[in-house]
């Protein structure tokens, strides 16, 4: 899994973020990171760390989410498909990204969800109609089964 040095580094980062020093991170701790505040997807990323309905994340959860982004190790690639897929496999990474789009967790990115993400990335100067047409076009390009939404399979294909 994750190497020892990586774990130590992440732990020191965890503790430096944890201002309340109670072994868990809350949302405010994340929001204190300045760059995250200006990142358009900041809020969503923060939410991804917290499991359903909880407000605190401990180190294990912290690590688990971050483990998605480790580079794929060579030996893991050759592992057979029997066991559960390693946490940082390509499809899991994509799934993570997909979940950031898909807020209502219906396994589809609907036009509205796409609009929301676009709005966050693009800022306030663009009119809704323009964004709407971009969203329409995006869905039109990617949508293969004609349901006017992007499913995970279609997302992966892009």
């Amino acid at each position: 899994s994750v190497s020892h040095s990586q774990i130590t580094r992440l732990y020191s980062r965890f503790t430096s973020l944890d201002k309340g020093e109670n072994g868990t991170l809350s949302r405010e701790d994340f929001q204190r990171i300045p760059e995250l505040a200006i990142n358009p997807l900041g809020d969503r990323i923060i939410n991804a760390f917290f499991p359903e309905g909880e407000d605190q994340v401990n180190f294990r959860g912290f690590m688990r989410t971050l483990a998605h982004f480790r580079p794929i190790e060579d030996n893991e690639k050759s592992k057979d498909q029997d066991g559960p897929e390693p946490l940082n496999s390509r499809s899991n990474k994509l799934h993570f990204a997909f979940r950031l789009y898909d807020l209502d967790k219906d396994d589809k990115i609907s036009r509205d969800e796409l609009l929301q993400v676009l709005r966050m990335m693009v800022g306030v100067n663009i009119s809704d109609e323009q964004l709407g047409s971009i969203a329409d076009r995006t869905i039109q390009e990617a949508d293969q089964d004609g349901d006017s939404a992007i499913s995970f399979a279609e997302f992966v294909k892009v």
Partner: protein, 687 residues
Amino acid sequence: SVSSIVPESCLLIVVGLLVGGLIKGVGEEPPILKSNIFFLFLLPPIILDAGYFLPLRQFTENLGTILIFAVVGTLWNAFFLGGLMYAVCQLSGPSLNHIGLLANLLFGSIISAVDPVAVLAVFEEIHINELLHILVFGESLLNDAVTVVLYHLFEEFANFEQVTILDIILGFLSFFVVSLGGVFVGVIYGVIAAFTSRFTSHIRVIEPLFVFLYSYMAYLSAELFHLSGIMALIASGVVMRPYVEANISHKSHTTIKYFLKMWSSVSETLIFIFLGVSTVAGHHYWNWTFVISTLFFCLIARVLGVLVLTWFINKFRIVKLTPKDQFIIAYGGLRGAIAFSLCYLLDYKHFGMRDMFLTAIITVIFFTVFVQGMTIRPLVDLLAVKKKQETKRSINEEIHTQFLDHLLTGIEDICGHYGHHHWKDKLNRFNKKYVKKCLIAGERSKEPQLIAFYHKMEMKQAIELVESGGIGKIPSAVSTVSIQNINPKTLPVERVLPALSKDKEEEIRKILRNNLQKTRQRLRSYNRHTLVADPYEEAWNQMLLRRQKARQLEQKMNNYLTVPAHKLDSPTMSRARIGSDPLAYEPKADSENLPIITIDPASPQSPESVDLMNELPKGCGGLPPSPEEEDEEGLMMRVKEPSSPGTDDVFTPESNSPGNQRMQRCLSDPGPPPEPEEGEPFIPKGQ
């Protein structure tokens, strides 16, 4: 066919050989590739073409790898080769004994550089996947700095009696000066070019000239100070490109593209032919030992270098380089005309064995270009190396790429790890905040990248649609805005492509007439009096809002198209047009595309009635809004509340009254005649 087996560069060299042989046979002295012609005229177009169209994203992602290959790899090649050749010379007896270490090192440095011209020529044809392409190509571009430094260093040292440690250290430092200085010069010229292009909206015809001119000046200035001209050229192309493309017209962009391609093609052809001719013409001194061992050691040095460096680099890369990749990289290390010209520059006095060097270099060049160039394609197929995917970038890709970028930046920030994405994000922010404002004209500077990309795609699609004559067959799945955008665009494009057939024109006129008709009907019942009445104020404001939005949209679209300044004199238009009021809006020549609304000229108010000629989207009128608009295919103006904060940066909630006042003003006095201006971004008049 021959061309599928033999790469073009080989054929050209053969042609050169034939021509040279012919000339010699006649008894004339064939022309040799003079170095200054090569460096001043033949090389820059190729490099500029490469730099301007460099796929920046892949380049920066692999920059570390490329730099290591370019710098360390070339150094290794030079010293390894030079050292070994020195040993060979010492060992081989009296004929070669006199060649000193420095001369050998110089020789090594000349021949060790991978040549961009040759690489381009061969790699273009085999369509290898982008990663490998950018690695080898990037390396060939960036190693110019190393080559320049080493060349001048050894040339100078050969004149010295003693080479001290200080000299070596200075030489090492000069590498940084040369490369960074070259880049710096390039960036400065790039910025100047971008800044110039901001003001060229009135002289579209010479826009391409600025690009070429400033780049060439960057090259010359760098070469003047013995800095790396190639790096300057590339830096200027890379820096100026995003801003220039945002500022210049579509036609200029096409011009630049085709001129660059044309010049670089011509240069490349000439270079290879000249190589062939010079081979026949030059004085040669063939020494079996020297030449064969050069060839041999070149190959070994390259392979060893790539292997060792890849092993080192793979520790830091996320996407590792497989042995197949390594083989292609090693095999793609072609030498070319730069090596030849550098050797030609050598002075006879100091380097008596210049001819021998020349012969050896030509042999190596021939070998790499012919043997390696010809066999690389079957080898690529044999090894089943991944080929390039010929897909156009879709809007999906663009959105998701940006999305993932933000995501990864966020994750990096959480980890506290100042990685790749962090710096890229910082650079983008800096770019957006300061640089874009200075270098891009008008409204475009605030346009997010996504929107710009989207507009480009829409426009491309519109043009394609017109060219294929498929005006009537607009796919229904395209959103309503797209439809609306495509339709009016057919008109300005029509002027650009006068070849549109008669019946297409008829179709366009019919469409417009229908649209005009509808709006006319709509407005019959509207007259000036209703403006003042309160119940209509709300609807009026909505209409203003929608007009504003439509305008903005239309302006942004039209910025890309070059529209001649004269008004379109189609009968429908001139009938519709009476006057205009620049107080409210500046009417533009291209605004006639969208249906024009006129107030009934027989209005009792004033003889010179002012009409609100503009691109009023259909469905706007001072009538009870909702039911009417719903069935209109207007510019998707779903009527909501007049403005919500943040959706429209022009109309703020307080603007309702000034807008209203403006309308009243404009109806009561006629404005001055309109001055159409081409391509000027619309700046809404003050509220």
